[in-house]
């Protein structure tokens, strides 16, 4: 048969590889910065764009979408061509994908510090960027599928199965999470509210981990590990079972982020059991990776690429075992809202994603420059620094989380809470300091890598088009009988459809009933829409990223009710019906500061004013940054009518035509608050942003308190 000659496109891989390095370092730097802010708030520079609430989304988005995203694309473009024995279908689409993606990242790096945010974790980017992401993702998909279609290899290798599942699921997740109603060029409200928004959010958020940080990276592992170790993949059978089980089960596990919240119990239980069932499929990937190294462990001792991979895969195994454990209610009751979760995700992020990205960079770059790695010793040092960094990061976080949770839950024998919230925070400050040292070590390791790779590139010569040859695929006249899965591996489109159906099942079964079954979100009569001023204040709350440190969810625990809703009239723990007008929901996932679900009426307007000016004035030792600009910024009331109209469209029952008079109500309420402050000798303009924020904070939990007042208290069943 005639052998065809063709060239692999290394240039696009190089571009994505460089982007990985640049954004990786930037993302980690921002991470280190916010880690220091937590114990040293002054380093926020008292400047809005660099406060924790705005930089934390920048850190997460940079690491997920810029660092791991670019690393995945680099690895996919490298491996896909070689596994399909063809060049990428269209160089032009490759470059549109590359530049489109980098522009999105730059746009994110500008908008997030400006406070332009949707207020949903890992989906903070505003709607125009959401659209751009969808478009670029489709371009990537077209290019990938066309490449698969024109391949010279009859069967699809397991890495490509993972790439296909990644593409189709991320598309689905991104589109559903981004259903939002714009009210301006940069602002929008989530289509979903309260409990439903929470469910959609964590269905998305959890599966961003699954299908953006796990499946593509598993695909990379399946290509680069056997290549680097020069060993056959341990078990084809295991690949099949763990792949299909993984993508089917993963999608269900989202609600484990919402245990003990107002989410209906049945959905919480589904989240728990599917997380438990996920252990084996996840570990299938780990086993297939580690057992592939059988007979090559002597190489691991020498080769830094394999060293990184072994730790990466081990971290993958650890965090996919820990995750299901954290999904058990008894453990979640301790871990949730604490730094335990932060430690957990960083085992995955630093260990699995980071180390695997480093491994493939160390593998691909010498190959593409036709040389050897400049210094194996330096890479080994990077490996050890990184490993120690991970340990120094994770252990203090576990400890801090566990200790803080126990302090939250501690009561004196007389039945009083043993610790004030602030005490539980200042107590774990040493762990925060240790954590930032761990992170710094990891970052130093990354810098060593940058130098090492730079030297490697300098000593080699880049092969932008790598020659290869393979016979073309010809239609078989009489296809031989094959194992059923082998037949599927010939059909990429069927594979795509089957993957889509499998991942759609879990989402549909969990999400649809919370919309259709009324009893899932029992209404509370006294819960009313926010006033225009409160709505504006809420949008500022979202803008400043308050949800990155404050929860709005009193869970049904004795300590939380005693701490956040202590009086009989406070309404007890949070109920689903309280959040029906919350577009988006703001339950949060971390309590670096106290819960705010019942904040309304707990403090005076003056207290809030002083607290925003300098938190340490009213609560000494507080770790919250100062929000001085809220005192000076003028509220932009021109957006009020559009916001009210958008809310009306989303089903919030403002009277028709209210958008026209909303600003009148807004000013009346603002004047009351300003007068109130004046009585306390604080002069403030009624149209200062702080007034709107105070209005919002004083509203939180008020409705449920009204409800308790209106109704005779009955025994809860």
């Amino acid at each position: 048969m005639q052998v065809e000659k063709f060239y692999y496109d290394n240039k696009i891989v190089k571009a994505f590889g460089y982007a990985t390095i640049v954004f990786g370092v930037v993302g980690m730097l921002v991470g280190l910065w916010v880690a220091i802010q937590i114990y040293y708030p002054a380093i926020s520079l008292n400047w809005a764009p660099t406060t924790f609430g705005r930089l934390r989304p920048l850190h997460t988005n940079a690491i997920i979408f810029a660092f791991v995203g670019n690393a995945s694309f680099a690895g996919i473009y490298y491996s896909l061509q070689r596994l399909c024995k063809t060049r990428m279908w269209s160089d032009r689409l490759s470059w549109v994908h590359f530049w489109g993606w980098q522009l999105i990242i730059v746009a994110a790096a500008i908008t997030l510090p400006l406070g332009l945010s949707n207020g949903a974790e890992y989906a903070e980017l505003i709607w125009p960027i959401d659209i751009a992401i969808a478009l670029v993702w489709v371009i990537f998909g077209i290019n990938m599928f066309a490449t698969i279609i024109v391949r010279r290899e009859r069967h699809l290798y397991v890495a490509i199965w993972f790439y296909i599942a990644t593409w189709v699921t991320v598309a689905l997740l991104h589109i559903v999470r981004s259903i939002e109603l714009p009210y301006s060029a940069t602002g929008s409200y989530s289509w979903f509210a309260g409990v439903q928004d929470a469910l959609v959010q964590w269905w998305y958020g959890h599966n961003a981990v699954a299908f953006f940080l796990t499946t593509p990276v598993l695909g990379l592992m399946y290509y680069f590990l056997p290549k680097a170790a020069n060993r056959p993949v341990y078990s084809y059978r295991l690949s099949i079972i763990h792949f299909w089980a993984l993508i089917f089960i993963y999608i269900w596990a989202g609600p484990h982020h919402l245990l003990y919240t107002s989410l209906p119990d049945w959905a919480q239980s589904l989240g728990t059991v599917f997380s438990i069932m996920l252990i084996a499929p996840s570990w299938g990937g780990m086993l297939n990776g580690l057992f592939t190294l059988r007979g090559a462990w002597d190489k691991v001792r020498e080769d830094p690429v394999l060293k990184f991979m072994v730790v990466a895969i081990t971290c993958y195994g650890m965090s996919t075992f820990e995750g299901p454990l954290l999904s058990l209610k008894s453990i979640n009751a301790i871990s949730h809202f604490t730094d335990w979760t932060i430690g957990h995700v960083h085992i995955g992020g630093l260990g699995w994603n980071g180390f695997l990205a480093f491994a493939i960079l160390y593998y691909m770059i010498p190959k593409m420059w036709g040389t050897n790695l400049y210094s194996k010793k330096m890479a080994t040092n990077h490996f050890w620094l990184g490993t120690i960094g991970i340990i120094l990061y994770a252990v203090p976080m576990y400890w801090a989380g566990f200790e803080q949770s126990l302090m939250w839950k501690a009561f004196t024998p007389e039945g009083q809470l043993k610790f004030q919230f602030l005490e539980t925070v200042t107590n774990i400050k040493p762990f925060y300091i240790l954590r930032s040292i761990g992170g710094a070590l990891y970052l130093v390791g990354a810098f060593i890598m940058v130098y090492n790779l730079y030297k490697t590139i300098r000593q080699g010569k880049f092969i932008s088009n790598e020659a290869a040859e393979a016979p073309p695929l010809v239609k078989e006249t009489s296809p031989k009988k094959e194992y059923w899965h082998r037949i599927l591996e010939r059909k990429p489109v069927t594979m795509l459809v089957v993957s889509l159906v499998l991942v759609a099942i879990g989402g549909i079964i969990e999400i649809i009933p919370t919309f259709l079954v009324k009893s899932n979100v029992p209404t509370i009569a006294s819960v009313k829409p926010y006033t225009p001023l409160e709505l504006q204040g809420r949008d500022i709350y979202v803008r400043e990223g308050c949800y990155t440190c404050h929860s709005q969810m009193v869970r049904p625990f004795r300590d939380e009710v005693a701490r956040y809703a202590p009086n009989p009239g406070d309404g007890g723990y949070s109920k689903a019906g309280e959040f029906v007008y919350d577009h988006p929901f703001q339950w949060g996932s971390k309590r670096t500061g106290p819960d705010l679900a019942r904040e309304g009426g707990r403090q005076t307007d003056k207290w809030h004013y002083m607290h925003m000016y300098d938190p340490r004035l009213v609560s000494p030792g507080s770790l919250m940054p100062r929000y001085i600009w809220l005192l000076d910024n003028k509220l932009d009331t021109s957006t009020t009518p559009a916001k009210i109209r958008a809310m009306r469209t989303l089903g919030v029952p403002y009277p028709s035509g209210y958008d026209k008079i909303a600003n009148r109500d807004l000013m009346t309420q603002a004047q009351i608050i300003a007068d109130n402050l004046k009585k306390e000798k604080i002069e403030t303009a009624p149209n200062a942003e702080i007034v709107a924020v105070i209005a919002y904070l004083q509203r939180l939990g008020r409705d449920i308190k009204e409800e308790v007042k209106n109704q005779p208290i009955t025994e809860n069943k």
Partner: protein, 403 residues
Amino acid sequence: MLSLKHIKTKMKVLLLGGFLLLFFAQPVWAAGPPAESPFNNPLAVVLVILMALLLIIIGILANILVGAADIKLKKKKNKTVVQVTMLIFLLLISGSPLFAQDTGNNGNSAAKTIGGMQSSTFYIMATVIFLELLVIIGLLLNIRVLLKQEKEKLSPEMVEEIKIAKSSRLTWWDKFNKLRPVTQESELDLGHDYDGIRELNNRLPPWWLYGFYFTILFAAVYLWRYHVSHTAPLSGEEYTRSVESAQLKVQEYLKKKGENINENTVVLLTDKADLDAGKELFTNGACAGCHGKDGSGMVMGQPGVGPNLTDDYWINGGSIKSVFTTIKYGGRPNKGMQAWENTYSAKQIAQLASYVKSLIGTNPAVHKTADGELYKEETTVKPVADSAKSKTDSIKTKTDKQP
């Protein structure tokens, strides 16, 4: 000579024994009224885990024994062992909700507990563990005997062969994972070639596969318990229970300690120790944030949120009882002074109130202007406000009302 058949029967009997024990034990546990989840008792949890672990070991040993014994028997036998093991797992799990339940209704059962468990339950679980240990010893003995026999049967040539084979010998780890020696790899090669990557067709590690089945089983039992049989509490119920049991504990403690200060019984404390404790709480606790460290109402040179406490003017009354009430339940609604009864004990609130009273007349140089009504100790004590009175019966009333 021990025949394979013999081992087989023996094992069956042992496993069956365990199975029967569980089967008959169940009705005993099931006899009592439903109680709260046994998973609240750490001892019970440890025992259950121990039982499960031992079962896993039994399963593995049985597998090894059978594997080592005869290849002919392997197919048939393997299945039986696995089935029996699985069955026991199943029973263990379905039985577990009942572990903590009452065995006898004879009234004095409360006395017969070991580590918070019903003594009978404890003994039954201990027996199961003991029997499991016996099974393990039996299995180990059998494996040893069997291996010895096999060795005796060997001819010198075979010994040589074994030596060669030793290079590709399987360790317990290999067996545990059903790994084939690397030297036999070519038999497993599927002939796939993707950019030089080959694929083997190794079997799934058994523990992985059965672990997967186990998690599926766990899922079914979990959903069943929470949503069908309702033997496990949903969040709301769990909350009610935890609050109730905590209340009982607090009441018991207070009764024992005899400390029952409330706004009707509180008196001004003049002891230096008490006042120092009050001062400590005031200056380093939350009070100073609003009232200033010296109680002047000035925080960092600015008028604070709270009023001056060093003058004779009081917003919520200046008697020791009024001050106690204000600290305990908070001041006027939405004016900043929150309720502190969940933060400080009654004793601490009394110390705080006494310390605050001791501040009167200290005349700090910089202070906030007076607020509230004039109150002098000589005048008759104002009655405590009605709203506060209704709250008097401290903890019990309060938590009862909580939804």
